[in-house]
């Protein structure tokens, strides 16, 4: 699964995207796995309320299932306009 990071999430993790092999069934599970990896992931995902997630380029909830999903993106609340 392709995992993409934007804005300060990208900066904290240090890379814009990566391939992740996972058995996680929900976004929350995936986040738990990533946080357990390294300090920089822990720093990025520490406060989930400051984050948003998109699954295959559609905004989603953190308890959404990952089955069939090819692209997960994490980012802070958007500031367009």
């Amino acid at each position: 699964m392709n995992v993409i990071y934007f804005a300060w999430v990208r900066e904290r993790i240090g890379i814009p995207q990566e391939k992740v092999e996972t058995q996680a069934t929900t976004v929350n599970d995936l986040i738990a796995e990533l946080r357990a990896r390294e300090e920089r992931y822990e720093a990025a995902f520490a406060d989930i309320t400051a984050l948003r997630v998109a699954l295959d380029q559609e905004l989603a909830d953190f308890d959404a299932p990952l089955e069939g999903v090819r692209e997960v993106a994490f980012f802070p609340p958007m500031t367009g306009g």
Partner: protein, 146 residues
């Protein structure tokens, strides 16, 4: 409907004119232009990051919703990304409708949704350093109006 996501500068006046051109079924055209504002006089540039795979899709969905809800004759959204200088246009929205209330409301709605639902992130670079612009609670609250 026209949706464009681009790094290049655009000419808001020329876009407004080509959007308005040759219509006799429209009574009201509203445009909004967002400009890089140098609040404290020390902004060097604004960097706009976006999510290329999602941006056009998200804007198109929001714009289609506005067109349907306010029976717009047409709508336009242009949004830039990349480094922008103070005073430069960031984005614009235009709406065309039979009457003014629909054109105003639809443009207002589009701005509220683009602000909080289109995948852009702004970073301000000043002589003190660089900082991501925080989303405001008021912007999220504004969505509840619709």
């Amino acid at each position: 409907m026209l949706v464009r996501v681009q790094a290049d500068l655009f000419d808001a006046g020329a876009e407004l004119n080509s959007f308005s051109q040759g219509r006799t079924d429209v009574g009201a055209i509203v445009s909004f232009t967002g400009v890089v504002r140098d609040t404290d006089g020390n902004l060097q540039e604004m960097l706009i990051e976006h999510y290329p795979g999602m941006t056009s899709k998200a804007i198109t969905k929001i714009t289609e919703e506005a067109i349907a809800r306010w029976s717009l004759t047409d709508a336009l959204v242009i949004h830039r990304y990349g480094p922008l200088k103070p005073g430069a246009p960031i984005m614009m929205v235009a709406t065309a409708a039979a009457h003014r209330a629909a054109a105003f409301e639809a443009a207002d709605f589009l701005m509220d949704y683009l602000k909080s639902r289109a995948p852009f992130w702004k970073k301000e670079v000043t002589d003190q350093g660089a900082d991501w612009v925080a989303a405001k609670d008021a912007d999220e609250d504004a969505l509840k109006r619709w």
